[in-house]
Amino acid sequence: MWGNVWAVIRREYLQRVRSKWFIAATVGGPLFMAGLIIVPAYFAVQSEESARDIAIVDGTGVLYERLAPSLEEGGWDVREERWRADVVTELRALANEGELGGFVMLDELTLETGEAIFYTSDRPSTLRQVTMRSGIARSALEYQLEQQGVDAESMLSGGELWIEMLGGEGSDMEDPQFAVAYIGSFFLYMVILLYAVAVMRATLEEKTNRIVEVIISSMKPWHLMLGKIIGVGAVSMTQMTIWLTAGILMFATGLPMLIAARPELANLSELREFLPGLGLLALFVGYFVFGFFMYSGLYAAVGAMCNSDEEAQQAQFPLIMLLVVPIVMVANVIENPMTPLATGLSLFPLFSPILMWARVSGGGVPAWQIGLSFVLMTFGVLAIAWLAGRIYKVGILMAGKRPTLPELWRWVREA
């Protein structure tokens, strides 16, 4: 009996995985993303390679030691030149011979206004200009503040505001967690919709070209539906696995390589904080799987009750609304994850995949609520399987106009 379900799964999976679209989206997606980051960086590094050795002529005698680290972090190799009468002529000659990328002149005026002169034969990129300019100004400011006995470092990094919670729970999300919650929610919404719609289209295709009559003659409709859903689900898992692996590889190896090649991009390493941990990743997959099963069941039923793409477009509207509600609420839930409203909405099985994820990824959600959400989603899957299976069974062989709600209910009762 399961032999033919397996045949359906296998067909659905292989047809999709072998399709040009799948290969393009799966392989092309991460490559495109990586390309967007790496290619410009590579060319930028190539073009400025020559201009990296610079000399600093410090007429003040106090700025070099402060400025050098920030310039080195920005990608330059710096050395100090003593101030002497013919230093400009000498360094200019070196630069012209290509021995030196350029040199910076610092003097008393720099200490007062942050102005300096950078002699170079290659016009530096805007990024480099900013790095150098802010480095110089900051060094000067630091010096001046220290003269006043001020903790310059703390002041210049924007101070610090410590939050002390006076009882009760609240959002203690940090920026990276915010991003994980947001990006994750939208990603869940996207992939659940994408693959559920794929199930609907596959159902509709079989119905409209009548091959379903042949298939149903040798297997139960319910088994066909299950096979379709599992087949498409397997495709989605394959695609996500590839994407996630590629993403992790990009962070784990690509990013360090990029930073090594271009030290001024060191800030990018902070992106690593955005990487969710293994536990969170497992929850993400869990919410996706349950969400996919619930919505693909509903979408299969919609596909079965319609006779054309246009009809299906209209009929799926209520389902889209079910997915849009949590997306509309997601910002609110992330900001206030512990309110009764957020808790309630996120426990509703059809909203859980998106809203519970949004809360969980921020941390602080009691484990029992996570557990409860999965229990409720299990009931959701079963209820939808029962309901959708019945609609599917009648609808898939039914031609003619789309059923009204009372007719649908009759299908469910009579099937």
Binding site: N4, N209, I211, S218
Partner: protein, 329 residues
């Protein structure tokens, strides 16, 4: 005969779509091992009946049995069903599709591949095995679908209008394949509105018109019972012998005469009279009734529509209602 002797049995089956009755009190059997034709004009209820046999539709009244029981999945799997509306996965490769259709009916992939290869070879499609179905012509797609229908070597073939959409050469090929299956003991039920085809292939016919069964009989018996004494003659010389006590009346037809005999009259005395009259007989043929003519006679008598036109009148578009059987004299 017990229920089990029938591959298919419908008893008092009625199916309505809203106010329209598609099939009305239909009783019909297909004994095991025969080729049976389900004949009738478009919209007479052929496809609806077949879809009820396949469990795609459920009768409002009456019962359907397949191999002596309810048409459940297990029994339906022993059927090779070619629906009227042809459907295939267009993006699949031909052999893959055939293997898939076998697999869902329990044929292992390796075996499906082997059988599929043999069939593709037989139908001249070997070179298309790894092409996508959508790259094939309609006729070729239909042949692929036919292979998918028979890949699991079914006990019963149900073919809904199998010949439509095929060119004459491929119609012959298909006809031969159907005969092959028959000789191996497969029961075959096919619907058609092409009377010629049915006449050549069927052992048993069931004629339906306007949702009702008109008749259902062994084709040989039917023809014997329906044979009206008509003799077609071609001759030179005197024609007085054509009149006599056996002859009801004479019709002139192209090239000769049709002598319509009185009920129960024998044609032998006419032949003797003709020979002795000195006429030179070129041909003397007993005319067999054509299935088409039988159908028009029955459907026309019982099922004349509101327009007054016999429902069977447009069956195959030909006006011929009599044909000669050769070798009469």
């Amino acid at each position: 005969m017990s229920d089990n002797d029938f591959a298919v049995r419908l008893q008092g089956v009625t199916k309505r779509f809203g106010k329209h009755t598609a099939v009305d009190g239909f009783d019909f059997e297909v004994p095991r091992g025969v080729i049976c034709g389900l004949l009738g004009p478009n919209g007479s209820g052929k496809t609806t009946s077949i879809r009820m046999i396949m469990g795609i539709l459920h009768p409002d009244e009456g019962s359907v049995s397949l191999f002596g029981s309810d048409p459940d999945v297990t029994r339906r799997t022993k059927v090779g069903y070619l629906p009227e509306e042809r459907g295939v996965y267009k993006k699949m490769k031909c052999l893959e599709l055939i293997m898939f259709l076998g697999e869902i009916r329990g044929v292992k992939r390796a075996e499906g591949k082997r059988r599929g290869g043999v069939w593709l070879e037989r139908l001249g499609l070997s070179e298309w095995a790894d092409k996508k179905v959508e790259d094939l012509s309609k006729g070729m797609q239909q042949k692929i679908q036919f292979i998918g229908t028979v890949i699991h070597e079914p006990e019963l073939l149900i073919l809904d209008e199998p010949f439509s959409g095929l060119d004459p050469i491929n119609q012959d090929v298909l006809e031969e394949i159907v005969r092959d299956f028959h000789s191996k003991g497969t029961t075959i039920l096919f619907s058609t509105h092409l009377m010629d085809q049915a006449e050549r292939l069927c052992e048993r016919v069931c004629l339906i018109s306007n949702a009702k069964k008109v008749l259902d009989a062994d084709l040989k018996d039917l023809k014997a019972a329906e044979r009206k004494g008509v003799v077609a003659v071609e001759f030179e010389g005197p024609d007085a012998w054509t009149h006599g006590p056996e002859v009801d009346h004479v019709e002139e037809v192209e090239g000769g005469l049709h002598l319509v005999l009185r009920d129960g009259a024998d044609h032998q005395p006419i032949l003797e009279r003709a020979v002795s009259s000195g006429a030179r007989i070129l041909s003397f043929d007993l005319v067999e009734p054509r299935l088409h003519e039988i159908f028009v006679r029955h459907a026309g008598a019982g099922a004349v529509g509101d327009s007054g036109i016999p429902v069977g009148a447009n069956l195959d578009g030909s006006d011929q209602s009599y044909a000669r059987t050769t070798g009469g004299a």
